[in-house]
Symmetry: C2
Subunit: 440 residues, 2 copies
């Protein structure tokens, strides 16, 4: 058997601790798989004095992760610090510069500096492995990079943020508000004290940027992603979705749109209740790939959590130890396509549009005719009058009432134009709600 792969772990939070556990508990299994033992020789974390409930005396301690990264005692740096700059970036760059392999779970770092880091790894013939960076324990990176090697991919979409899916699932099941369900998620440890990064879609966008590159062989382009979060979703939208046969999910979607380039978007999405991603409730993640040879493939599993993320980290470490790794993005960085960004205004799809109008004569007709003028065909219109309001003899109360429109395929630009006209007409009592419908 070959000499062991010597691993240094930078960052000893829940994921780092779980990686230590797995490498100890499954040492023989990992060695069998890799053809050589994997041993942790050194660790680094912010505070050496903190009680982590485990004996770390067998590992050499580094206060500075960049010093760990270039240590003669490691062959492979496992970066679990997080953050797109600072110590994480410094450690990964130092490790690659020193000819070490790198395994990382850091989606922010990859979304911003992934191409430069991949080029550095390639130049040294070393691994830059990041299965844990997207969708946690779901092996979507390996699936895209290796299992779909012979496929052209038309679209990839998924639930990539467990916090948002938990909140939306709970809103749907309980009929309660975003704020209430966010608070519940925070109490359960599913959402951070400052939830912005998750609920406004940025976390999903980082992951999507990485998956897009793997799926389409395109250079990572986080800036090209349209991002919209879930904080505007109301219980009424979820009720309407249910009546119309949909669920609302925060999806990351990347799609090749004809000659226009690649569309990357993160936003709340209406998905048919029968679609695989619609079945996924709670903190679970799911990714669906539309590929020309295999057809539709869906992977469902835990997207976060120390142990599930560590599972992905360990699979990368085993690949490094076995020497069975290739180019980080499945092909040389120089061969990645600089894809055109397909602008959101040209996005085409069905739309759920909820306008709140004053319940007056001619309002529904005004809404419908503005849609028609923008060449938008309507699949259905639902008007729900609030119960209990005083009404005139035609049943109209003068109060704000919601009208929900489901459109056939239309462009984003047409929808925005029609809504602009309605606002100019004074038809809208409140800002409109627009939720894109994702086809199965």
């Amino acid at each position: 058997m070959q000499p062991p792969l010597r691993v240094g772990i930078a960052g000893l939070g829940t994921v780092g601790a779980a990686v230590l556990d797995i490498l100890s508990r499954r040492a023989a299994q990992v060695a069998g798989r890799a053809g050589r033992p994997v041993v942790v020789t050194a660790v680094s974390a912010r505070d050496r004095t903190r009680d982590r409930g485990r004996d770390l005396s067998a590992y050499r301690w580094f206060d500075d992760p960049a010093a760990l990264a270039v240590s003669d005692e490691i062959d492979c740096l496992v970066e679990l610090i997080g953050g797109e700059e600072g110590p994480a970036r410094a450690a990964v760059e130092a490790a690659l510069g020193a000819g070490k392999h790198v395994v990382t779970a850091n989606k922010a770092l990859l979304a911003k500096h992934g191409l430069a880091l991949a080029a550095a790894a390639e130049a040294k013939g070393r691994a830059l492995a990041f299965e844990a960076s997207s969708a946690g324990g779901i092996p979507i990176v390996k699936t895209l990079r290796e299992s779909l090697a012979g496929n052209g991919i038309a679209r990839i979409y998924g639930i990539l943020n467990g916090t948002c899916n938990y909140i939306l699932s709970r809103m749907e099941q309980e009929g309660s508000s975003f704020a209430e369900c966010l608070a519940a998620a925070q109490q359960l440890g599913y959402a951070e004290a400052d939830p912005t990064f998750d609920v406004e879609g940025y976390d999903t966008a980082h992951k999507l940027a990485i998956l897009t590159s793997l799926a389409f062989g395109s250079a990572i382009d986080s800036e090209a992603i349209y991002v919209e979060g879930i904080s505007s979703i109301t219980p009424l939208d979820l009720r309407m979705a249910d009546e119309l046969g949909f669920r609302i999910k925060l999806l990351g979607v990347a799609e090749r749109v004809g000659d226009a380039g690649i569309e990357q978007r993160v936003h709340p999405t209406m998905v048919h209740k029968t679609s695989p991603v619609a079945q996924v409730m709670g903190v679970t993640n799911a990714v669906t790939v539309d590929a020309d040879a295999v057809g539709e493939l869906t992977l469902v599993g835990p997207g976060a959590g120390g142990s599930a993320t560590a599972s992905a980290v360990v699979s990368d470490i085993a690949d490094v130890a076995a020497g069975t790794f290739g180019a980080p993005f499945g092909r040389p960085v120089a061969g990645l396509e600089r894809a055109e960004r397909a602008p959101m205004q040209r996005h085409k799809g069905g739309y759920y549009v909820r306008v709140t109008v004053h319940d007056r004569p001619g309002v529904a007709a005004g809404v419908a005719s503005r849609m028609a003028e923008a060449d938008i065909s309507l699949e259905s219109i639902l008007q729900k009058r609030p119960p209990g309001a005083d009404r005139d003899k035609l049943g109209r109360s003068g109060e704000p009432v919601p009208i929900v429109l489901i459109t056939y395929e239309a462009t984003e630009a047409a929808i925005r134009q029609a809504l602009g006209e309605m606002a100019a007409d004074g038809l809208l009592a409140e800002p409109p709600q627009v939720i894109r419908i994702e086809r199965d």
Copy 2:
């Protein structure tokens, strides 16, 4: 760039033709992924004169696949002939003996001779790759072998046969009989003229044997699999399942049961409607893995079809070309555990038991007391009297009526004992139906 990997394809049916198509259409992509081109240099099939709608003149033709296998013109044999013996086995053995890599979709060959073939590949340091052998386009082999390298696996179960899932889905949706739905599947090309291999569970068993070995690190043991098909399932069972919150799926299940060893079984199964595999309708396949680090992971996709199967074959070829392959079963054959076979009589789980009794006084009591005597606790009892029969003043017709029992956890032995006693008591008008319930 390195010299090309030269591939010889034995078997030019729908899968072989699709492999040729993909390797030609995605040549640049596969070369980018593998770091070297992949070229098909030679082919073999039974009938050279058959019009395959494509120009094969660029490939050297072999009438004998075993001659192709040892040809100096190939580095890698792709075996798509099928069958556990005969030309497929001869060609694969010849190729490995000659130091060629082998990629195969042949589940029957692997289920029977997989260990010997893997040992031969290991001895020569060559690949034996078989992603396409189980669940078609779903990358479950790579997931088990590589992505779950750090996981202990408690259970793997799945829908591994599209024909059976199509028939059961259609029976459920239409309320029609097994025979009617089988005929429909045959007309659509989803079932063979002789459907025995699919509908009696043998195809699922072959795939399960392979997945069990990968999941548990155990030596393949097809003989240890309990196998039961779907031909006994009636529309009444599907209706009852629906009422009780279940669907019926033909599952392959492998599970480590304490110290008793590994239980491998293929049989119609009651799954809760909310479970991921219950969502999977039609010819689609799905596999769920319960693993200690990652938790529950489910992969859903096409389990058959030329193009989807070829997608898996091409991913294996790309791994071979890139040199990123390891031991066929994820660890050396010598390291595979000889697992105990957990006998079916000791299987523990919930059961759906449908007995057909003569509608006479005391019959339900007799059934219930026989269950109680065997220490089986009942979760529910459903008795459906057929409409329209003549009845006495207590509503009993004397006609055969079904009683459905759902049990809490019980052993197979206890269930069989109770049913034996009921038969001896003369309570049963027809043979009983027993369907095991699989927990989520």
